[in-house]
């Protein structure tokens, strides 16, 4: 369970969010500039939060009223940004093992790489990988640390259509198996459908709606939501 109450003021933009995320994947949708990436970064601790609280399971990561702010490196919140932010100077194995130093960590990194079918790429560098491979490495790197929550910022957006199809299923399956609160930013209704979990719609820095996928589809809460759904139907 990830509970959020966040008030972020940043360069004239205001984000004001109250959310409770259950275990498993939650899709985060909304127009460009509505604050999706900022929300992820606020949970990570990468943008200052003026007022708010973040509670992950029983751990308080942030409570501005009590002056609590756990540093990013101790939050155990994994983050996969849009361009993946893989370390270009490290091999795939070193990337995946970055968060888990030591022999046990190396074993865990190898296990996660096996699961995602990355074993053959272990000594390549990110520059020599395809988009889909990079995406998997970023996911493996995040999972190797055994995070308590996972933040994915448009994980499939940088992939070509074919790779996206294949990776989407793997991603959805992995996130369900993990059973930790996972927030997945996306612009594609197909991703939302594949994830199958609750949908959070955010517009202009505020949560417009939150609920199950079925309710989201049955009665789209806004014009943006309607277009997201119809675009998926029409765009096949």
């Amino acid at each position: 369970m990830l509970e959020l109450e966040l008030d972020v003021q940043r360069d004239g933009f205001a984000l004001n969010v109250r959310l409770a995320l259950a275990r498993g994947p939650t899709a985060l949708v909304g127009p460009n500039g509505s604050g999706k990436s900022t929300l992820l970064r606020a949970i990570l601790g990468a943008v200052p939060v003026q007022r708010g609280r973040i509670v992950l399971d029983e751990h308080t990561l942030l409570d501005t009223a009590r002056g609590v702010s756990v540093p990013t490196e101790e939050r155990r919140v994994a983050w996969v940004p849009q361009e993946y932010a893989l370390f270009p100077h490290l091999t795939v194995l070193e990337n995946v093992g970055f968060g888990v130093p030591g022999p046990t960590g190396r074993a865990r990194a190898a296990a996660v790489m096996d699961q995602l079918g990355l074993a053959a790429l272990r000594s390549r560098r990110p520059g020599a990988l395809s988009g889909g491979e990079r995406q998997k490495v970023a996911l493996a790197r995040a999972l190797a640390t055994e995070p308590r929550a996972l933040l994915l910022d448009e994980p499939l957006a940088a992939l070509d259509a074919d790779t996206r199809e294949a990776t989407r299923a793997l991603l959805a399956e992995t996130l369900h198996r993990l059973a930790i609160p996972s927030l997945v930013v996306t612009h594609e209704m197909r991703d939302v459908l594949a994830l199958g979990g609750p949908v959070v719609l955010i517009e202009a820095g505020h949560v417009r709606s939150t609920g199950t996928l079925d309710v989201f589809r049955a009665s789209p809460p806004s014009e943006f939501a309607r277009s997201l759904i119809t675009r998926a139907v029409g765009g096949v």
Binding site: L44, E74, W79, F98, G99
Partner: protein
């Protein structure tokens, strides 16, 4: 073409006027040997201090843009632009026996001027800016998301710095260090004023060349050729970046 000739002829003259026999004899001259030793010692020391003290400063400047950083940037650039003689005088007025910090240093039992330590300080003063600018530029160019990714993976400040920041900034750090070392090796004016010209103690290679002019030209020529060879080596380290690019490197 004329410009190229102006640049090339003096170097050509230097090489042509020195026979291999002269070169060997010049390098074996006592003046040359002691200057060579001293220059190696002092430039190694000043480069170590530059890396040790300059890296945190460069990091701070790259990470905290603002009024304080702009003041620091001016302070860092001044020694590059100010004539070395002025730097020498300033060092003397700061650390000399009657200088600003003279009494403090004297109480601590330190007399800097005209010692080998003074040579190191003069070299540090004039050469560190080249490294700091180059390192700060490299640090500024880092992708912020890589550092956040490292943090989200549990990496503390030291691990982030040594595993992510340093390796990714290596080109800027290496070329800055090479340039800074070359500047320290060639330091003349500030050293002469602040440290003097005492063989074995403060007489570095450039000062030895200057002193040899009055007695025996062979060590002067031999050392000059040596310094040109070293300079070519530094250009090799800089690779395709030009010296000016590396020197001026700043955001």
């Amino acid at each position: 073409m004329l410009m190229l000739a102006v640049l090339a002829v003096p170097l050509l003259a230097l090489v042509l006027s020195t026979s291999p026999v002269d070169l060997v004899a010049g390098l074996r001259h006592p003046l040359a040997l002691s200057a060579l030793r001293l220059s190696l010692l002092t430039t190694t020391s000043s480069l170590s201090l530059t890396l040790l003290l300059g890296t945190p400063l460069a990091w701070w400047m790259a990470r905290h843009p603002g009024p304080a950083e702009r003041v620091a940037a001016i302070l860092v650039q001044l020694p590059i632009v100010v004539p070395p003689a002025v730097s020498g005088l300033a060092l003397l007025l700061a650390f000399g026996r009657r200088g600003l910090l003279g009494p403090v240093l004297e109480q601590a039992g330190w007399a800097l001027p005209f010692t080998t330590a003074a040579v190191v300080l003069a070299e540090l003063f004039v050469s560190a800016p080249f490294y700091i600018q180059s390192a700060a530029t490299a640090f500024r160019g880092l992708d912020e998301d890589l550092l956040w990714a490292a943090r989200s993976l549990g990496a503390g400040p030291a691990r982030r710095f040594f595993r992510v920041v340093l390796p990714l900034s290596r080109p800027g750090i290496v070329s800055g260090a090479a340039l800074s070392w070359a500047r320290a090796l060639g330091e003349f004016g500030a050293t002469l004023m602040f440290a003097g010209n005492l063989q074995g103690r403060t007489q570095t290679l450039p000062l030895a060349i200057y002193s040899a002019l009055e007695t025996d030209l062979r060590p002067a020529k031999a050392l000059s050729i040596l310094l040109v060879a070293v300079a070519l080596g530094v250009l090799g380290v800089l690779g395709r970046r030009t010296v000016l690019e590396a020197a001026r490197a700043r955001a």
